[in-house]
Amino acid sequence: MNILNLLKVASNSLTKNKFRSFLTMLGIIIGVASVIAMMAIGQGSKQSIEEQISSLGTNILFVRPASQARGGVMMGVSNAKFLTVADADAIKKDCESVAAVSPMVRGSGQAVSSYDNWPTSIYGVNIDYFLIKNWEVQDGRLFSNKEIRSSQKVCLVGNTIVEKLFGEGADPVGESIRFNKIPFKIIGILKIKGESNFGQDQDDIIIAPHTTVQKRILAITHVQNIYVSAKSSDLSKEASEEIETLLRVRHKLVPSEESDFSIRTQEEIMSRLTSTSDILTALLSAIAGISLLVGGIGIMNIMYVSVTERTREIGLRMAVGGKGRDILLQFLIESILLSVVGGIIGIFFGIAVSSFVSNFMNWPVQITIDSIVLSFIFCSVIGIFFGWYPAKKAANLNPIDALRYE
């Protein structure tokens, strides 16, 4: 039989049995669509988690004394005396890839206003800190370099502090508070940041010049951390290397010595968080695998049944002169057509379901090419194989056995 006849026979057979063709295709449509939708929903959630993580800024670096980093996960009050304001200034001056640098000291204690008191933390930083953290002032102003140099007792407060010490909606700019009995004048209020991804209230904070905190609150001359932002997130690795080299020179370390400080990029810290999204990925793969399996079994069944049901037709075709190969090719073409058309409809259906979920249920969805390609290929291969295999079995029969089949 020539290819033209073959195509005609196959397409005739499909169009004359529209309902059967549709049912067969349905298995593939649902298989493909469910995988695409599942993956889109899962991928969407994963993406939104990752976006939140990366919104923290991947260009931020922390420098901290080595003793503190070792074993300790979060920063605590440390006795390490290795980092100084001079280190921070040197980084700012000499490291090419660095955009902003702020020393940081942190003390905890009791903040008291004329109305109330509240246990909180005070951060001592310079004005670069606000750049690094991308933090704006809502009301009032930042402190100036002059105020830093002269250790002025001025501070900015987060919204939680305003609420706790002055009541909701109050405007305490110009008022005074005491932190561990040291009076500070509030010169600005920070924009609301909300909860961090770690679950911390980021607005529960008082920020003052680092010199003031060092001298008045902590009575130290060193700094606990240095916050650095690289010029871009691509440059954070270079920045890290530059800082490493610079500080080793400044700390007069010989090559055999370990560094007495450690540099962490935001990325490294986040990698711990992203393990969450790795779990999601694994979950997604499992969902996709199960959908594919279920879809595949559905396709397999319906293909197998529909071809087996047609054994008599196969017998008749052989009786009037169809060779085994003609029969096989016909069924192969039929199942390819069904699988491809079904697969394409399934892709559109899957996209439609995903956008429905995204528009009407407001879930983050992200349709991936991978899921489309994977599900399409998998379902087509299964569809084609299980269209072909029973046809092959039937075509191998004696024509008379195929004709008598019931």
Binding site: M1, V320, G321, K323, L403
Partner: protein, 248 residues
């Protein structure tokens, strides 16, 4: 000497069912000449269908020789047999075996799809001619479920005819039909036979066999009796003489 369409010698067919072997054919010899109309008769289970399936190259004999149009079928591969069936044999089944939801014309066209030398136009023309030969040209666009049993069997006969086979083999073609329609189908066969087409037909009924030229009777896988019909009745005449039943 007339041309022998079919020659079989000591044909044996056993069905091996594991613990027991069914001897369906126990050594058959006969010939069918060109232009003959042979009826194969016999009780149920005597091996008529088995023989016809072997003659139609739908099944293979266990032993013995079979020459179809002077070619030794035994040596043929599956694919060669398919070509042989396509070019030399027309088969008519008791249950019509038409493709559902497919017009009469397209059903008749089916064998020609497997013949690469026939193009689409010729295919249509030949199918229409075959339908005309069985008197159904006006129903060519009807589907099987729009046709009566007799009409469906005519379509099946047209399908067996369309390839210009050397022989048409029919296994109880009237088995599912009432006697009036059976005579009608026999009239079609007689008309084709009168045009020179060789026909082999299996039947239970002797009043069907009387329309053929020779009757071979089977019993237990052997030929029991063989008679040449002296005065062949005409099915179309029998049909006109038949009283038109008014009681239903």
């Amino acid at each position: 000497m007339s041309h022998k369409i079919i020659r079989i010698q000591n044909l044996v067919k056993n069905y091996d069912l594991g613990d027991l072997t069914v001897h369906a054919l126990r050594g058959i010899d006969f010939d069918i000449d060109e232009g003959e109309f042979v009826a194969i008769m016999g009780p149920s289970g005597s091996g008529k269908s088995t023989l016809l399936n072997i003659l139609g190259c739908l099944d293979k004999a266990t032993s013995g020789n079979y020459f179809l149009d002077n070619v030794d079928v035994k040596k043929f591969s599956k694919d060669q047999l398919a070509v042989l069936r396509n070019e030399k044999i027309g088969f008519v089944f008791q249950s019509y075996n038409l493709l559902a939801r497919t017009s009469a014309l397209e059903n008749v066209e089916l064998p020609l799809f497997y013949n690469a030398s026939v193009n689409a136009k010729e295919r249509r023309e030949r199918a229409a001619a075959a339908l005309e030969a069985v008197g159904l040209l006006d129903r060519m666009n009807h589907f099987p479920n729009q046709l009566s049993g007799g009409q469906q069997q005519r379509v099946a006969i047209a399908r067996s005819l369309v390839n210009d086979p050397v022989i048409i083999l029919a296994d109880e073609p009237t088995g599912n039909l009432d006697s009036r329609t059976s005579f009608d189908i026999m009239a079609v066969f007689q008309k084709l036979n009168s045009k020179g087409i060789t026909i082999g037909l299996v039947t239970h009924e002797s009043d069907i066999a009387q329309f053929t030229s020779r009757n071979i009777t089977f019993r237990d896988g052997r030929i029991n009796k063989e008679i040449v019909v002296e005065n062949i009745k005409s099915a179309s005449e029998a049909l006109t003489k038949m009283p038109v039943e008014l009681d239903y």
